[in-house]
């Protein structure tokens, strides 16, 4: 915890946890996506799913779902903001460190287990490209 801060995470993390952006509530079919990616597993306590809508090799919209702790929710929310509007190649370059920097740094022990969203995004992009190849 940083000095003077009364919550376990930074204000940015708190904001993304309390007011997550771009999440998909309830039924997945409510969002018309082109590809989906998955990472993590509930046994470890964190799992993320990323749904992307692509046009002209660009992520024009995306949604996510997360089972996990506050930093998992906040980091997936932050990633969704970082990835929106980016080309697929640019989106693939988003790293865990980028997410951590955006959030003003998570506690170290959280970083490894809860910043996984970029892997779900990479999985979605891979699935999108594979499906496109087959089509």
């Amino acid at each position: 915890m940083k000095e003077g801060q009364d919550w376990i995470y930074t204000d940015i993390v708190k904001d993304h946890f309390l007011n997550p952006r771009n999440f998909l509530m309830g039924d997945e079919s409510k969002f018309k996506y082109d590809a989906v990616g998955l990472v993590g597993n509930p046994i470890c306590g964190d799992q993320m799913k990323m749904f992307i809508k692509v046009n002209d090799d660009k992520i024009i919209d995306l949604r996510w779902k997360t089972y996990g702790c506050a930093s998992a929710i906040a980091s997936t929310s932050a990633l969704s903001e970082l990835a929106k509007g980016k080309s697929l190649d640019e989106a693939l370059k988003i790293s865990a460190k980028d997410i951590d920097d955006y959030l003003g740094n998570l506690p170290k022990h959280k970083f490894h287990c809860s910043v996984l969203g970029h892997e779900a995004l990479a999985d979605a992009i891979k699935n999108y490209r594979e499906a496109k190849k087959k089509a």
Partner: protein, 377 residues
């Protein structure tokens, strides 16, 4: 925060009782002297300590000389386990880490053997059956055979098996009689009954071996060195007096049980995907602990959403503890990591009211609905 906290983490620590705070504040001025000193201020401080010893002994069915003051339950637990260094030590996966990890380091294969089992499980509140240990004599004794520099060894009884129990969570909530439980050692802590953090006690039955953990000084009959924490012990004494005056175990069994059971009922009725990890039946669990899992909602997230609403609970989820593994207790009980990650412990105290149950039920259903709604599961 303008709203009053809805504090439901009494099993972790009980807020300092106001009488305790006052007594400690007064003691800081009045009983400042070193209690080991022979002068009058020292003697007066010692009187207070001895009174606390008598009160605790009376409450648990022991005699005063069988009580040693420590810095808390972890020290008490460490003292017992390390007394049996190199010996067989049997314990369970449900114990506090100060038992499990200490036993891992110090156990061996010699006899006599130590059994260490807590009476009440911290996380789900389950009341456990203590093992019956054999009273058989053991003559091939080598525990403390040689004279040590730690002071005289005060055991006279040589048994094949000894029994320790961590009674930290049980004290004040259910009646305790160390003799009836057949205990050789028992651990207590002040802050679980509204006393200060940093004070604990160890019951050491007369005649059983004890190897001091803190060496140096004549305090506690050479069983625990270090200047007496007079102010803390006075806080402990005041909290113990309150337990006895109010017969707090009766209140826990009636009004606190009522609140706990009502919350359980409402959660099951109003929150889909909820399941109880605590067996609510009388005699099966402490009346103030309720552990619940919520399908597809992770514990730390639940805890922190509640926290922002001023509702204070704990979780067995890995994330909250700064660990990578979920609660070892819930894993041992359920064998299901998902259930452990999704668990919340509500633990009540004597100050809780119906309003607290109402407040939880105002907030919790929405929190769970939201988390389940965005969950991948």
């Amino acid at each position: 925060m303008s709203r009053r906290l809805t504090y439901l983490d009494y099993a972790a620590t009980v807020p300092l009782i106001s009488e305790v705070r006052e007594a400690m504040h007064e003691a800081e001025e009045k009983f400042f002297a070193n209690a080991s000193a022979l002068h009058t201020p020292g003697h007066l401080a010692m009187n207070e300590i001895e009174e606390c010893r008598e009160i605790l002994a009376g409450l648990i069915g022991a005699s005063s000389e069988e009580i040693i003051f420590t810095s808390g339950a972890s020290e008490s637990n460490n003292t017992v386990i390390r007394t049996f260094e190199g010996h067989q030590i049997e314990t369970s996966d449900l114990e506090h880490h100060s038992i499990i990890e200490t036993a891992q380091v110090y156990r061996g294969d010699k006899l006599p053997k130590l059994y260490s089992y807590m009476l009440v499980n911290n996380e789900i509140g389950e009341i456990l059956k203590l093992p019956k240990v054999s009273g058989e004599k053991f003559t091939d004794w080598d525990l403390f055979k040689k004279k040590t520099e730690w002071g005289k060894l005060v055991f006279t009884e040589q048994k094949k098996e000894y029994l320790h129990s961590d009674l930290t969570q049980a004290l004040g909530k259910i009646p305790i009689d160390v003799k009836e439980l057949g205990l050789d050692y028992a651990t207590f802590s002040a802050h679980k009954i509204g006393g200060p953090i940093g004070v604990g006690a160890l019951y050491v039955r007369k005649g059983v071996p004890l190897k001091p953990l803190i060496i140096g000084g004549n305090q506690e009959g050479k069983r625990r060195g270090g200047t007496y924490n007079t102010v803390g012990i006075i806080g402990f004494k005041t909290a113990l007096k309150k337990v006895i005056e109010e017969r707090s175990w009766k209140k826990f069994d009636t009004s606190v049980r009522g609140l706990r059971d009502l919350l359980a009922k409402r959660i099951l009725e109003e929150i889909p995907g909820s399941s109880l990890n605590t067996d609510l039946r009388r005699g099966k669990s402490l009346p103030n602990i309720l552990n619940v899992s919520f399908r597809a909602a992770e514990g730390e997230s639940i805890q922190l959403y509640l926290d922002t609403e001023g509702i204070i609970v704990s979780t067995g989820s890995a994330c909250a503890a700064g660990d990578i593994k979920p609660s070892h207790v819930l894993m041992a009980k359920t064998g299901d990591a998902e259930v452990a990650h999704s668990s919340i412990r509500f633990s009540f105290g004597l100050e809780n009211t119906m309003e607290d149950v109402e407040r939880v039920m105002e907030v919790l259903p929405d929190v769970i609905r939201r988390l389940q709604g965005i969950s991948t599961l």
